[in-house]
């Protein structure tokens, strides 16, 4: 098992985002704050571990971090320039 085998994509966090945001986010456009690339959420690289890390598929910058525990969720969007909803 190598790190790349653990790579999933944004489809895998559809359930968590549905719970957090209340709408399906997998087709939502997301712009990387690092390189400006725009991709649908489903096309981002997702690394699930103790927390979930979502990276830009172009520059590999961390765009989103999600940590859940003790009944709470921390959502770090500092690497995302914008999200296009609806």
């Amino acid at each position: 098992m190598e790190v790349r085998d653990l790579k999933l994509d944004g489809n895998a966090i559809g359930g968590i985002l549905l719970e957090l945001v209340g709408t399906d986010m997998t087709a939502c456009g997301s712009v990387c704050a690092g390189c400006g690339a725009r991709e649908e959420m489903a096309r981002l690289d997702v690394y699930p571990a103790a927390g979930i890390v979502v990276r830009c598929r172009h520059c590999e910058s961390v765009m989103i971090r999600i940590v859940q525990g003790r009944g709470r969720t921390w959502l770090d969007l500092s690497g995302t320039a914008s999200l296009e909803l609806g």
Partner: protein, 245 residues
Amino acid sequence: MPSSAVIWLSATVAGIVSETPRVRTLELDVPGWPGHRAGQHLDVRLTAEDGYQAQRSYSIASAPDDGVALTVERLDDGEVSPYLVDEAREGDQVEVRGPIGGYFVWDGEEPDPVLLVAGGSGVVPLMAMARHRARAGSPAPMRLLFSSRTLEDVIYREELDELGSRGDGFEVVHTLTLEQPSGWTGYSRRIDRDLLAEVAWPASESPRVYVCGATRFVDAAADGLLELGYDARWIRTERFGATGS
């Protein structure tokens, strides 16, 4: 999307179909289910007597007009799949949340040719698309390239044979990567650029592509298609791993 989609719904196992020694299909009765699109998945949550909860994502195998069926492969070190494949009985209850996904979906409204590329249980959301095509009478040509380890591991084998024999534009091409029965006339190697060059639609037809499987499989298939001149925007992929939640 109605906010009711966020709520966990109670689901009852209404039917069970054994697909292969490691895979079975659970037909679920889900009161309040809002309906789904071909290619979507849902989350299943199990709660133990001591309150411990585990949840995983599973693709929906059924066509949108055909209720909710999940096809699940047993992962021996999994928390949820051994129960769903080995233990669950008709009448058992689980919780589900969904449907999930607005990207890896095919609604059958365009006439463009469709290439489905499946690795093992990655065939499940693609089967929902094939079933949707058959039910809806879509004229879009559809070709499934399906990689399995052995003939015994081919999920939906009889149904795929039947769909492929109708002569209505649906084709299935198998490759068996680990072991082939004597007299096997299909492919017997892993999916790569050369195999895709023989099976995939020419890039000039601008096909829509859906690839689902483990990460390495998906990457190999997507890379091969790009080498053949496919546009990255035509290729929709869904990777699965042991962690589905």
